[in-house]
Symmetry: C2
Subunit: 103 residues, 2 copies
């Protein structure tokens, strides 16, 4: 593959981070693996994982069934939510006349 662009590298990062978090390469994460991924990789954008209740709520919103592993599809639903939120913040800021990017 030719040199990757920033956008392509960003997509690869999302996919790779999910895979790196899985200890057994099964394609799904155990709850503990998922919790470690969130606390190390989403400290700013996802809040509330410190309590079992908060983590359970996040997983329910991602469509994870009780006692099941976290699939890439579940993970992607979280990423989509976060990205859509970030987009809304940026769109609102631009509307207010701010020429800015997310840091």
């Amino acid at each position: 593959m030719a040199q990757s662009s920033d956008l392509e590298q960003a997509i690869s990062t999302l996919v790779n981070q999910f895979h790196s978090a899985s200890s057994n390469g099964s394609g799904t994460l155990k709850t503990d693996e998922f919790k470690n991924l969130l606390s190390s990789q989403m400290p700013n954008m996802v809040k509330g994982i410190a309590t079992e209740q908060g983590l359970g709520e996040i997983m329910r919103k991602m469509g994870v069934a009780d006692g099941e592993g976290i699939s890439f599809k579940n993970f992607w639903s979280l990423i989509q939510n976060v990205a859509t939120n970030q987009h809304s913040i940026l769109a609102a800021a631009q509307k207010a006349g701010c020429s800015c990017i997310l840091l």
Copy 2:
């Protein structure tokens, strides 16, 4: 916001790239702006934009209505498709015993 992780930076990159491609800050891209974004930022992961037919096909799959701009939701549907493909490639490689990441 505290220091961003790789994953958070990747999400910001996706959101920022979409916004930077818009000339008027309206929150949607014109077809030409979108085409420029794909050719500069997705040269490896999205093929077929060189012809009008190919670009039209991609935009239809993204849910863009004829004559409409490209919303973040449309853009995200493309990103999701690409990421899901990349995930499948990686999952298949891992199943075959390869311990690898996407470059």
